[in-house]
């Protein structure tokens, strides 16, 4: 391997790593601001201009907070928990294609940690391991609330992983590859309306729901819901160990957003990418033009990621959370059958002269049924007499 490629590759990997961390750090700030804005508040504004230093203050505080290991806890596992959570969270961003490629000395170096042909499976594998951090930590704390949180997290993750996997099978059938980059490129070729979100609306909704569950975000934040379990699995954690847990959650959110954007929203593709990229190569020359086009694509990709991070927060501050059994019901009795149905319908569509939009059938039927039932049934709310 050429040394320059190695260096460029290392830089890209470090950049991905650094950006994950940075985004996760500032997600905490954005979360607080978004929450505040949605609640008619203004949020942190006294630490630095507009409170921009808030995450740094939090980190600084946490580093110097007393590190506490409960006497009855099993010490090594107690330390292992947050470490695992952080590790798996950071590992998963490796296969996300952040951009097309950087052209350098006649080499095309993809803007991606590592390109493997089972990228989707890799992400699934790593994400499914994420729960160990929570389980180990929750168990090691030796606290009933933590344990309940850990158990909830475990069962929730297993349940939703199934639906998560099933929901993207239709996409895999269409693309015929397990590589994330291949899926993105295929969407890029198909153009704006060929984005998977338009061919697979139902799959997208299921995937999004499961992504919420895998990230333990509201409405699926049962493992740490504070009104029931105090702090859930991290009840006993203080200082930076707690920080790692909270951090891992935000990194997971970032990775999920990136994954959703790549799978369903065309990754680094944006409308009229071809034309713009051609215009750039024509005006700036092949190398620079290509690199600039890549940068724009990467920016577009980050735009999508930020939107989804915002969406995660937006939902969190809007909806209530499920109860444990309802969450299981939703996962096993609704999402899994739905995703199987989606696979069948999409597969039939594909077999039937390659129609990609078959999934819409389910969505349209459901909408029509809903509208009909709504107009036929008595008004949902007993409307009180309003003076």
């Amino acid at each position: 391997m050429d040394l320059t490629i190695f260096i460029v590759k290392s830089i890209i990997i470090l950049a991905v790593f650094g950006i994950s961390l940075l985004i996760a750090t500032y997600s905490t700030y954005v979360e607080r601001k978004v929450a505040a804005f949605m609640q008619d508040r203004i949020g942190p504004d006294r630490a630095g201009p507009w409170g921009l230093l808030q995450p740094i203050a939090d980190a600084g505080k946490m580093f110097f907070k007393e590190d506490f290991i409960p006497a009855q806890a099993s010490k090594w596992l107690f330390i292992l928990g947050p470490a695992l959570a952080m590790l798996t969270a950071l590992m998963s961003s490796a296969v996300i294609p952040f951009g097309d490629s950087i052209r350098f000395d006649n080499y095309d170096i993809p803007v991606q940690g590592i390109e493997i042909n089972i990228g989707v499976l890799y992400i699934f594998g790593v994400v499914s391991l994420g729960v160990y951090g929570i389980m180990v930590g929750g168990w090691a704390s030796n606290n009933k609330f933590s344990l309940l949180g850990a158990i909830r997290a475990a069962s929730q993750n297993i349940s939703y992983e199934v639906a998560l996997g099933l929901s993207i099978i239709a996409i895999l059938m269409m693309s015929g590859s397990l590589s994330v980059r291949a899926i993105v490129e295929q969407q890029a070729e198909a153009g704006f309306l060929g984005w998977n979100v338009f061919t697979q609306p139902l799959g997208f909704i299921i995937f999004l729901t499961c992504a919420f569950a895998e990230c333990n975000r509201t409405p699926f934040d049962l493992p740490e819901c504070e009104t029931e379990l105090v702090g859930g699995y991290h009840t006993e954690y203080s200082s930076m160990k707690l920080g790692f847990y909270l951090f891992a959650e935000y990194i997971n959110m970032f990775v999920s957003s990136a994954f959703i954007s790549s799978l369903y929203f065309g990754g680094y593709h944006y409308p009229f990418m071809e034309q713009i990229s051609n215009a750039l190569t024509n005006s700036l020359g092949a190398v620079t033009g290509h690199n600039v086009a890549t940068a724009i694509g990467t920016a577009a990709f980050f735009g999508k990621i930020f939107f989804f991070i915002f969406f995660f927060m937006w939902v969190r501050w809007t909806v209530p959370r499920f109860r444990y059994d309802q969450l299981m019901n939703l996962g096993w009795k609704i999402l899994i059958p739905l995703s199987v149905l989606n696979i069948i319908v999409s597969a039939s569509g594909l077999l039937f002269n390659g129609m990609k939009y078959a999934s819409w059938l389910i969505v349209i039927v459901a909408t029509v049924l809903a509208i009909m039932s709504n107009s036929r049934a008595p008004k949902g709310q007993v409307s009180p007499q309003r003076s």
């Binding site: 030796n142 409405p219 009104t227 029931e228 501050w317 209530p320 709310q381 009180p384 007499q385 309003r386």
Partner: protein, 413 residues
Amino acid sequence: MTTEELDLANKAGVPARTDEGPVQYVNELTTLNLGPTHPATHGIFQNILQMDGEKIVSGEQTIGYIHRAFEKIAERRPFYQITTLTDRMNYCSSPINNMGWHMTVEKLLGIEVPKRAQYIRVIMMELARIADHLVCNGILGVDTGALTGFVYLFEEREKIYEIYEEMCGARLTTNMGRIGGMERDLSAEAIRKIKKFLAEFPKVLREFESLLNRNRIFMDRIVGVGGISAERALSYGFTGPNLRAAGVDYDVRVMNPYSSYEDFEFDIPVGQSGDTFDRYMVRNEEIWQSLRIIEQAINNLPEGSHFADAPQYYLPPKQEVYKNMEALIYHFKIVMGEIDAPVGEVYHAVEGGNGELGFYLISDGGRAPYRLHFRRPCFIYYQAYPEMCKGATLSDAIVIMSSMNVIAGELDA
């Protein structure tokens, strides 16, 4: 770990640990401590739940964590100072407590309060009821994970506080009424604020309703959870919204009208099966009904004095105190608490935020009550909690708790 430490840890809601590590058996019962510092108990009582997995088998409550001996203090304080105690009983709706107490004393002393004062009282009490229900329903939202609606409601509560401030200068523990009427008349500014509130509040409330009421996640969480039949509810001494949710339309304001409630037109919302959704909906509707009452009261506010003509019980104007010997004597007598109270016993009930709030006052003619007993609705109906959450899950237990609206000050007296 000694038993005492364990006990303390239990009390603190923090991890009880035994030497064998976390006790979690599939087929054996787990004991889980909710409170007193568990976030959902809001720091005031303890529920020891026996759980089978996530299912609650039985529960037992420990209360008294903020027992403040109201009844004992009341025996040492002159009548007018007891207001400061009642304010702190159900602090979410202190004006109701406050005026309930004044009406009790007025009943004992035989003071007839002018219509205007009664209407002002109604306005304040209904505002307090709104404030109370806002907190309860908002907290229910928080406990199911939806914080935002609660914040919207709290902003409206701030507006109610503003009206209080206009009236008396305090937000929560208002100390607003006086024996024989109100401390102050409604100022023009207060009336303006009330009207503004009446105009703006429904919008926010509707927004809150559409955030939660028909949201399936929320409905699934609370429909059919913690139901109680009307018979059991009556046997447990339920009153107020919780009883009405079970389908009994008992409301003190209608059954034994006080303070001119008979003048107003309003409905008594009832539920079907006394579950959490019914309680939520009943409270929600009561807010609308309270708005109706306030609107009627403010539009038909009679002219007249805001206090009764009872110089021996109601403080004379300050300039009178300067000039008039008689007024000065009354002033001193009232402040020293040496008013002529007749011997007798009174029971007076008002519809508090949580139900029938009764004052049982026994006077021996002294400066302080001989005995004052508060019938605190929370204290009485909270005993039903273990029965209501039997068979429910831990999450249910929490929403049942918050929908019952147990106010610590009222619970523990």
